[in-house]
Symmetry: C2
Subunit: 334 residues, 2 copies
């Protein structure tokens, strides 16, 4: 900026005024400064300005998602980006990988860079460590998983309800042996989905004790292996509820391997890419990652704009997408 001022033959403050479009600068001066800025390819330093600027905003957001190469996370990210772009805000994006240490590092990296707000998917047992930051006024919105040990805005799918919907769908097609495959109980969404599954079985008066429940699955390989094991054991299920997209894919692979994809029903939680093109099509309870991302960004910006309403949980509805795999009826021999 000093160089621009020197070249234009004006003071630095006048350059600042021109760059920021402040009023009360003569047209001739504006022209001189703009010419100088162009000549030097000047880009103002947002962070230096921030140091002194009244609002102290970096126009930057920190986003932590499951993994930036997961389709669900990618869709959330994209929605956040679009909302942010409209306000001239840039987005730091990081992957959680369900690693508590990675969460802490990412949050710390965001805070050291003074982001205006945090949109977080978490895996730590408690996010109480964020309390001081919240008190300082940094808005935090939790996405996908609800916070623990702290109160702040959250935007989540209706996990229990969606899981119940999936389970009910299978029950209505006559299934009574419905396996549950999901991630470990320590993960809030997995817990909720498992609860929804159990609740629905209970409501239908179906014993929950005889069901196969496999937890701790979070990638295709383990899920595929678990599914194969299921059919090696006595009284295999006639239907499977898989509670996450990668788990669903693992189940599909296993059923193919066993040649049972047409006689074992499957409903997945969270949509699967090209799920409609598979044979059978994959029936899922789809989340709405776009809406989750958009809503989260809107919450952040509302907070930044001064909204002081109590922390709220936004629940984004899930939707059953019928494509074939969930409508298979139980094997009679079974």
């Amino acid at each position: 900026m000093r160089h621009v001022a020197a070249l234009a033959g004006v003071g630095v403050k006048t350059v600042s005024r021109v760059i920021n479009g402040e009023p009360n600068v003569s047209a001739a001066t504006i022209a001189k400064v703009e010419a100088a800025a162009r000549t030097l390819d000047y880009q103002p330093d947002l962070h230096a300005g921030n140091l002194r600027r009244a609002d102290g905003r970096t126009r930057t957001l920190g986003l932590l998602v499951g993994s930036v190469d997961n389709p669900f996370s990618g869709a959330v990210h994209r929605a956040v980006e679009d909302a942010a772009l409209a306000r001239g805000v840039s987005v730091f994006a990081s992957s959680l990988d369900d690693d508590p240490a990675r969460e802490q590092e990412a949050v710390s990296a965001f805070l050291r860079r003074r982001v205006d707000g945090l949109i977080l998917t978490t895996i730590t047992e408690s996010q109480a460590y964020l309390a001081p930051e919240l008190r300082r006024g940094t808005p935090v919105v939790f996405v996908d998983r609800e916070p623990a040990g702290i109160t702040s805005d959250a935007v989540v799918s209706d996990n229990a309800d969606g899981a119940a919907l999936a389970t009910r769908h299978l029950l209505e097609h006559g299934h009574r042996r419905i396996a549950y495959l999901g991630d470990r109980h320590g993960i809030q969404t997995a817990r909720e989905r498992h609860r929804g599954y159990l609740d629905e079985l209970g409501r239908a008066g179906v014993s929950t004790r005889d069901q196969h429940v496999v937890e701790g699955l979070h990638d295709e390989a383990t899920s595929q292996a678990a599914t194969l094991a299921l059919f090696d054991a006595p009284s295999p299920p006639t239907a499977i509820f898989s509670s996450q997209n990668l788990v669903t894919i693992g189940v599909i692979r296993a059923l193919r391997e066993l040649g049972r994809q047409h006689d074992t029903a499957l409903v997945g939680f969270d949509d699967v890419p090209l799920g409609d093109l598979l044979d059978p099509g994959v029936t899922v309870v789809a989340q709405n990652p776009q809406q989750i991302g958009r809503t989260a960004a809107e919450r952040i910006f509302a907070r930044l704009d001064g909204d002081t309403a109590p922390a709220a949980r936004s629940i984004v509805p899930t939707r059953l997408i019928v494509r074939g795999s969930g409508e298979i009826t139980p094997r009679t021999e079974g």
Copy 2:
């Protein structure tokens, strides 16, 4: 930092020393400062430090990809993130959407935030506007598409070669009417892939004039419509080469709709999620987005570490994945 210094009863410079692990601070002082920092939940301001710090590094990278919710982009992003994380560098990620204005805005947003390096996918006709920044020493690595109007590092797939590979595969299965479906010619990768396709036809002595070539496709819907139109026209192709993942998906949908997925061969450029689970499996020339991202990040860090070798283009090999759709032989009636 002032508050920490006051609470610990030391000077700010001493706090700075403790935070940065500089030598020559007594153990007692370190303990006092760390206690004060913990009490106040102090997070150093990376950008303020940067203003004065000798190296002037923000430990931040700008990444511009096609779209953060595209699987290819997501994989690139993830690889960049992992490489960056190992060096304590955070990543700004933005989507290009093949919009030149969006490119300029994203780059400008990155530069105003003083990123240490840029990893860019571009759509502008020339990236000469980056020359001043390059001269200032900011490393720029182009990914996926090569730069125009400027010389800098690039990491790309071997597009022409991969397209030729796909085309050859179809030729070897007896096809002589091979349609090309791709994006507009203005896009460097599309141009290269089209060239590889034409070259391979030429090498095989197959007329390139009689082939259906549809350009300007970049999403599922337009690609699907274009494919349907192809089969409405005289002498439809017996095989299709689709030059991008979303285009491939559109083609698959159209072939399904026509019931021709088993009698029309298809090879796609860039892998398709669950391509192995479809019927028929989708034969593709797969790129290696992980390696592209990793290599790009490595180039950036090498430049930051002082590598002054001339700008180089890294070519990441493609790989033919045979899954069924590409091995269909021509219809005899056709």
